[in-house]
């Protein structure tokens, strides 16, 4: 079968979206279902069919969502109603829209944030934390000990130590108690 000529193909737009919180492991398929569900819930099946959204790429805390040209507004509003998938809470922050994936990738490379690593957070990034015996950075807040999950640009995401409460708290370096 011969491919359809470019002029007869559907016109598409691509939206670059940042996934918060930083360090979230993105399941492309699950995220697609969450976005699809949000579009259907907000605009209905017929509009969802016109938007024809798809998650076409997911890398380093960002995803590229595809839609039909002219439906960016509907998609953007629907994306702001996505609050998570399964038990994972997240927020999708719109960064840019473009007609090609390549230009979004170029933009993404420019605004790329450091890769969330499992290695200990360096001292200079998060000066108020203290290193625990197992190499993880830990910090105090509200009289409790927390493990630092992410630390970037003054933002610190922590998880309480222990097995009972594993919810993330969102702090800043100024909130941390000096050990």
């Amino acid at each position: 079968m011969t491919p359809r000529p470019p002029t007869m193909r559907e016109k598409r737009r691509y939206i670059l979206v940042r996934v918060d919180p930083a360090g979230t492991t993105i399941d492309q398929k699950e995220l697609y279902y969450a976005i699809s569900d949000a579009i259907t819930a907000l605009w209905g099946d017929s509009a969802a069919a016109i938007v024809n959204a798809a998650v076409v790429a997911a890398e380093e805390g960002h995803v590229i969502v595809r839609c039909q040209r002219g439906t960016e507004r509907e998609l953007a509003i629907a994306l702001s109603t996505v609050t998570g998938y399964r038990d994972l809470r997240l927020a999708l922050r719109l960064v840019a829209a473009s007609g090609t994936m390549e230009s979004l990738r170029a933009r993404f490379r420019k605004t790329k944030r450091p890769v969330p690593a499992k290695q200990p957070v360096p001292d200079e990034a998060c000066p108020t934390g203290a290193e625990a015996e197992n190499g993880e950075r830990e910090a105090g807040f509200a009289g409790k000990k927390f493990m630092i999950a992410e630390c970037e640009g003054g933002k610190v995401d922590v998880i309480e130590k222990g097995f009972k409460n594993t919810n993330r708290l969102f702090l800043t370096t100024e909130d941390l108690e000096v050990p």
């Binding site: 609050t83 933002k155 708290l169 702090l171």
Partner: protein, 214 residues
């Protein structure tokens, strides 16, 4: 205070500290936020106004709590209930915002309440959390109620405020996203702009009808 999120709930009510909320809000395009039970603060270029949220309280107790709140300073918000309660609360001097109208009775806010709100310069809060997080009938009811409020606001001229009631930084939304969500309620660009500065409108001293000169 031109672009304000009219209500956020930082730690310990939520999982994000007030500084983190301010930092994120600044990045999302806000210049100020109203944080429930927080201290006044300027952080990362964002002004944090303390908010006092009064709910599940009888009308007569609201008066004493508002009096206490006025001494402390900050934005005083009262959770809407039935029509009689709302009328009584709007008449109390010192109340800035009537919030949670989407969860109140269908008849909780009528033309008389709207006129009173306009006369007493009390804003009605549009809480976007049911529009963002709600699905099905919850969201439909909220949108319907807000459309009704918007109609009254255009007719009687009482201020509106926009809030996310975020308990986490993940529940905050960018100014552009909020404008998009408000378009679902029938608000245009000017309505959204006016609603973002609704807190400034109700907290600034009112212009006197008559000014004595000399």
């Amino acid at each position: 205070m031109k672009i304000t999120d009219a209500c956020v709930c930082p730690y310990p009510l939520g999982d994000s500290t007030v500084r983190r909320m301010a930092l994120e809000a600044g990045k999302l395009g806000f210049d100020s936020i109203v944080a429930v039970d927080a201290q006044p603060l300027d952080f990362a270029g964002v002004r944090v106004c303390p908010g006092i949220l009064i709910r599940d309280t009888a009308a007569k107790d609201v008066i004493s709590r508002v009096k206490r709140g006025r001494d402390v300073g900050g934005v005083i918000m009262v959770q809407a209930r039935d029509n009689g309660f709302n009328r009584a609360v709007i008449g109390v001097k010192g109340v800035h915002v009537l919030c949670g109208i989407h969860a109140a009775d269908k008849t909780a806010f009528d033309h008389v309440t709207a006129k009173m709100a306009a006369d007493n310069r009390v804003a009605v809060d549009i809480d976007l959390s049911p529009v963002i997080g709600g699905r099905g009938i919850v969201r439909q009811r909220a949108i319907h109620r807000y459309r009704d409020i918007l109609m009254f606001s255009r007719r009687f001229g009482f201020p509106l405020t926009l809030s996310t009631h975020a308990r986490s930084v993940l529940e905050l939304r960018a100014v552009r996203e909020i404008a998009g969500l408000c378009s679902l309620l029938g608000m245009d660009e000017h309505d959204v702009e006016a609603a973002f500065s609704g807190i400034a409108a109700v907290t600034s001293p009112a212009d006197r009808a008559v000014r004595v000169i000399g």
